[in-house]
C-alpha cells in the first residue's frame, strides 16, 4: 500500500509537503523535534504515492514515498 515515511529529525517544518499533498494526509505536528521544529506527519492512511511531497520537500532525505 502506498505510504510516506517522514524522518522527523530531518524536517525543518517548512510545510511545503503539506501544501503539495492533494489528499491532505500530511499535517504539522504539535510536538517539536530535537532541532526545535514542528515537523510534518503522515496521518497513516490516504496516501496515493503521487510523490508531490517528495518533490516539494527541500531536504534531501526527509521524505520517502513508497507506492
Amino acid at each position: 500500500m502506498s505510504h510516506v515515511v517522514i524522518k522527523k529529525e530531518l524536517c525543518k517544518g517548512c510545510s511545503f509537503c503539506i501544501k503539495a499533498c492533494p489528499k491532505s494526509v500530511l499535517s504539522l505536528s504539535s510536538d517539536i523535534n530535537n532541532r526545535g521544529f514542528n515537523y510534518a506527519e503522515y496521518a497513516g492512511e490516504g496516501c496515493t504515492g503521487c510523490g508531490f511531497c517528495f518533490y516539494s520537500c527541500p531536504e534531501l532525505d526527509a521524505i520517502e514515498v513508497y507506492s
Binding site: 530531518l10 517544518g13 511545503f16 503539495a20 518533490y55 527541500p58 534531501l60 513508497y66
Partner: protein
C-alpha cells in the same frame, strides 16, 4: 501498481561528510529554501540519465557554494561570478564530461555578468542552473541586481528605487537574445505544479548537453523565506505576489531541433599551419635542418626571462627564440611586459620552450636569465633556479657584487657576453640582441646558426642590408670566447 520508491538520490552522498558540525544528514539550507528542491531535481535527472559518474558541478560563491557537500560528483569551486569561465575550462579539457554551472542571482547577475554572457555567447556545451531568489541569501539579505522594485532589503531599506539602483535584471531574456544558446527558459519551484515543470526543463537541458547541442540556461525562481522575512509557508504567496508578475515563466528560446552538435573543442592546429601563418621556414622534423647532428634536444619545459631596457630588442629576442622553437617542432609561449615608453623604459619577456604542451605561460622560477642591463640583472637574478644559467651583457654590466652571493650559493652559471660592443663594432647598436642570441646558441646548442639565418632572411626579406648585418652580429656573438666568469 508497480513498486515505485522515491527517496534520497544516489547522486547525493549518504553522509554529508564535508559539512561542518554534527548534523551530517541534513542540509545547510534554511527551512523553505529552494536549493534543496532544485538539488533533488538535478540529482534525480543525472541519475536517470546515467550521467552521475561523469558530471562536474561548478559552484561559485553564495549558498550555491555548498553543492559540493551533497553531490557525489566532481565539484569545482569558482571565484565569485566566475563559474561559467571555470566550467568552460572543465568542459573543453574534458569534452566527454557533463558540466553543470550552479549559480545564484547575486553571483550570476552581478559580479559574474560578463562571464555568463560570454560563455552563453560562445555556446559552450554546458548547462547553467540559475537560481534566482531576488536577494543575496548567504550574506544576509542585501539587494541583488534581481531584487524587485520597492523590495526592502538590508541595503535598500526604503525599497529598491529604479532611479538609484536601476531595474531588476531579466537574465533569461537577455541571454535569449544571443545567437548561440540553444535552450533558455525561466521556471519556478514555488509550488508542485511548477516544480514538476522545472523537473522537465532540467532534464531537457541535461539531455541537450549529452547530445552536445550547446549552451542551455535554466533560470529557476526560488524561495528565500529567511531573507524575504516571511514564514516558509508564506513564501509561495510572496513569490506569486512579487516575483511572478515581473519574471515571466516561459521558454524564451528552444532551437534544440535545429542545433547541430557543437564543434568544441576544435582540433589543434598542426605545426605546419602555424609555420605557414608566421611565414617561417619549414623543417619537416627536428633533424631536418641542414645535416648537423650536434643539436641537443629540449627534454623538459625550459623557462626564460629576457630583460633589459626598451630598444635593446628584448621582446623581439624572446619572439625570435619562440620562432626557432616552433620551426624545430617545440611548443613555446611568450608574454611581454613593458612600460609605456617605446624606448628607454624597462622591458622583459617570459618565454617557455617545451617538448610538451605548456599549461601556463607564466615564468616565476627561471631556468635561463638573459639580462641586457644592470637593473634587470639585479631584479631577476634571485628568481633563477639552482644550477640555472645567466647570460648578461658584460659590455655595460661591470658590477656583479650585488648578485654574487646568490649566484654562488645556488651554483648558477654566469656567462658574460660582450654584446653591446659587438653591435657597436658593426655600427648598429640595435644588433645587441642578435649578438646575444649568437652566443646563446653556442652555449645552449638547441638551435642552429643556419636556422637563425633562414629565419632572419624570411623576417627581413625586404631589407637585405639588415639580413647581412644581423647575420654578422649573430656570428660575432657566436664566435666570442666563452667567458665563464668568476664563480
Amino acid at each position: 501498481m508497480g513498486n515505485k520508491i522515491l527517496k534520497k538520490s544516489e547522486a547525493f552522498y549518504d553522509v554529508f561528510f564535508r559539512k561542518p558540525g554534527d548534523e551530517k544528514k541534513s542540509t545547510t539550507y534554511c527551512a523553505g529554501c529552494g536549493h534543496g528542491i532544485i538539488h533533488k531535481l538535478i540529482a534525480e535527472a543525472i541519475t536517470d540519465l546515467g550521467m552521475t559518474e561523469k558530471t562536474t558541478f561548478v559552484s561559485p560563491v553564495g549558498c550555491s557554494v555548498f553543492a559540493y557537500y551533497y553531490f557525489k560528483t566532481g565539484n569545482v569551486e569558482a571565484a565569485h561570478g566566475r563559474a561559467p569561465a571555470v566550467a568552460t575550462a572543465v568542459k573543453r579539457s574534458h569534452p566527454d564530461s557533463y558540466v553543470i554551472c550552479y549559480q545564484g542571482d547575486g553571483d550570476l547577475a552581478a559580479i559574474g555578468t560578463a562571464e555568463i554572457l560570454h560563455a552563453a555567447n560562445r555556446g559552450e556545451n554546458i548547462t547553467v542552473i540559475f537560481v534566482n531568489n531576488a536577494i543575496y541569501g548567504m550574506t544576509g539579505g542585501q539587494m541583488a541586481p534581481t531584487s524587485l522594485l520597492n523590495q526592502k532589503t538590508a541595503t535598500s531599506p526604503f525599497g529598491r528605487d529604479e532611479a538609484e539602483e536601476g531595474y531588476p535584471l531579466r537574465m533569461s531574456e537577455i541571454i535569449a537574445t544571443l545567437d548561440a544558446p540553444v535552450l533558455v527558459a525561466r521556471t519556478s519551484v514555488h509550488d508542485i505544479k511548477n516544480i514538476m515543470q522545472t523537473r522537465k526543463l532540467i532534464r531537457k537541458a541535461l539531455n541537450a548537453q549529452k547530445d552536445k547541442k550547446g549552451f542551455s540556461f535554466i533560470e529557476i525562481l526560488s524561495q528565500c523565506p529567511t531573507n524575504w522575512k516571511v514564514k516558509p509557508e508564506d513564501a509561495q504567496e510572496w513569490m506569486e505576489k512579487n516575483m511572478l508578475p515581473y519574471y515571466k515563466r516561459e521558454v524564451f528560446k528552444d532551437i534544440l531541433d535545429q542545433a547541430a552538435p557543437v564543434p568544441h573543442p576544435k582540433p589543434r592546429k598542426e605545426i605546419a599551419e602555424i609555420v605557414e601563418l608566421l611565414a617561417l621556414p619549414e623543417f619537416k622534423t627536428r633533424k631536418d635542418n641542414g645535416g648537423e647532428t650536434t643539436l641537443k634536444t629540449i627534454r623538459r619545459e625550459t623557462k626564460f626571462k629576457i630583460a633589459g631596457f626598451g630598444g635593446q630588442g628584448v621582446l623581439s629576442l624572446g619572439a625570435f627564440l619562440c620562432e626557432l622553437a616552433i620551426v624545430n617542432h617545440y611548443h613555446s609561449t611568450w608574454i611581454p611586459s613593458y612600460g609605456p615608453e617605446m624606448r628607454g623604459g624597462t622591458a622583459n619577456c617570459s618565454v617557455i620552450l617545451s617538448p610538451e604542451e605548456i599549461a601556463s605561460p607564466v615564468v616565476q622560477e627561471i631556468d635561463i636569465l638573459v639580462a641586457f642591463n644592470h637593473p634587470s640583472l639585479v631584479k631577476f637574478h634571485s628568481n633563477v633556479k639552482e644550477e640555472g644559467l645567466i647570460f648578461y651583457n658584460n659590455s655595460i654590466i661591470n658590477d656583479l657584487s650585488e648578485i654574487m652571493p646568490y649566484v654562488r650559493r645556488k651554483k648558477i652559471q654566469l656567462i658574460g657576453v660582450d654584446a653591446s660592443n659587438a653591435a657597436d663594432s658593426l655600427g648598429d647598436p640595435r644588433m645587441v640582441n642578435v649578438a646575444m642570441l649568437g652566443h646563446m646558441i653556442k652555449v645552449y646548442p638547441y638551435f642552429q646558426l643556419q636556422q637563425a639565418d633562414l629565419l632572419l632572411e624570411k623576417k627581413f626579406s625586404t631589407k637585405p642590408r639588415l639580413v647581412e648585418l644581423n647575420k654578422q652580429a649573430l656570428r660575432r656573438g657566436f664566435e666570442q670566447d666563452e667567458m665563464e666568469n668568476i664563480v
